[in-house]
Symmetry: C2
Subunit: 249 residues, 2 copies
């Protein structure tokens, strides 16, 4: 039971929601242009000229397969930083980048720690955090979330998600461990995700959480992403400010 | 590797410390007068007149024995909220409090979520958080830490400690899991604890963390607590502002 906020929120807000759980990559931060920028920063001085956005897409394309090995039980849980590095080592040769010095590869792998939030992130968080407990429930590890929050000057009450559960979304354990850690029933928690992230919508709802989609048309390139979730959600918002409006924050 | 802060702190601060890990009960918050106040609030209206501070001391006296059952492997890990409740049920009859309604007992158990910080907590955190990653490494569970931070208007970058490690301090795993979760070597982390908490000092140092003691003479009653740690520490501070001074924050 989360006590300090209970008096402020119980029964006061739509759906009885007391905590907002956030997907992060694509929902709060723009991974695609950030990773492209970091790739250029690290590789261009070494003489490489890639299609930087294509490189970001290729790296991200290894994301689900790398986690699926853990979800399926083939390999034991490893932090996303480690999976990102394995994926990076797969993707670099495809772009004819070879023999990158270890310190450069290590620093490039931390590109995911240096992503910028969508423009609505900070103003909306300042509103939402007055009313709700706020936590990422991301497949990113704790250190990665800490760095993204610092970089974008937003606060979370706790870092929940994969590292807490020892598994990756959309496994039910990740959503349920987050609710349990923050001391709330799943029905008092709302999962917030980019509208194209159907697995978050299905996974969270199946665990009894409330759901909110954010349009995010540009996650995979300008206007390329679905802005309406394929499955029903409790709140469909244009951006995080719209979510704050719709939750009465 | 914690990246966002690295540029700001690497090599700039004493001992190369990048993260401050805080003990909470007694170090950041005054559990004794807070629990006594909550006991009075819950029990006095039901006709009880106890020595409220003695009641707080008796409840706290069950703290180490309850955790020792977990540390020794006799019982599996349970959140501190659950251990606090078991201890409460042991202690109430000793003060001739019987047949308390469940909702009152449940609310009284959450006394530990409603503790106030020592007066230096907030101003010092505002200074320290500019320079260091900040996390509780407490035996309290995540929801408990979230509520204490909200109540006292302080921010943590992440909630580390018992719930992350699945065990209680001073087991080495708790200190090591905290450093690992935040992506830093133990030597880049400093454990901060009330000077009388010798087990934090010994446990953290044995794991390679830096150590800082805070005097806290009043934790167990006015002027009753040791203000100098029994074992050597890297920094011995009078309060958290003095710690900030001594770390150059």
């Amino acid at each position: 039971m989360s006590d300090a906020m209970a008096g402020k929120t119980a029964g006061s807000y739509k759906f009885g929601v007391k905590a907002l759980f956030f997907d992060v990559f694509g929902t709060l931060v723009d991974w695609r242009t950030g990773v492209a920028r970091e790739a250029e920063t690290h590789l261009k001085p070494r003489g490489y000229t890639l299609d930087w956005l294509a490189f970001a897409d290729a790296w991200r394309a290894e994301y689900q397969p790398s986690m699926e090995q853990v979800r399926s039980g083939q390999v034991s849980y490893a932090k996303l930083d480690i999976l990102h590095r394995k994926s990076l080592d797969l993707v670099l040769p495809r772009f004819n980048v070879r023999d990158l010095p270890e310190d450069v590869a290590h620093s490039l792998n931390l590109a995911w720690h240096r992503l910028d939030g969508w423009p609505d992130l900070r103003p909306a968080f300042i509103r939402l955090e007055q009313r709700f407990l706020m936590a990422p429930v991301s497949n990113g590890n704790i250190a990665l979330m800490v760095d993204l929050a610092r970089r974008n000057t937003v606060h979370f009450d706790a870092i929940l998600g994969a590292d807490i559960a020892g598994d990756f979304k959309p496994k039910p354990q990740v959503f349920l461990a987050a609710a349990e850690a923050i001391g709330l029933a799943p029905s008092a928690c709302m999962m917030v995700f980019a509208a194209s992230h159907t697995t978050d919508a299905i996974g969270a709802a199946a665990c009894g959480l409330r759901t909110a989609s954010i349009a995010r048309p540009d996650e995979f390139g300008m206007g390329k992403s679905a802005t309406v979730c394929e499955v029903p959600v409790d709140v469909a918002a244009q951006d995080l400010n719209d979510l704050a409006d719709k939750l009465g924050a």
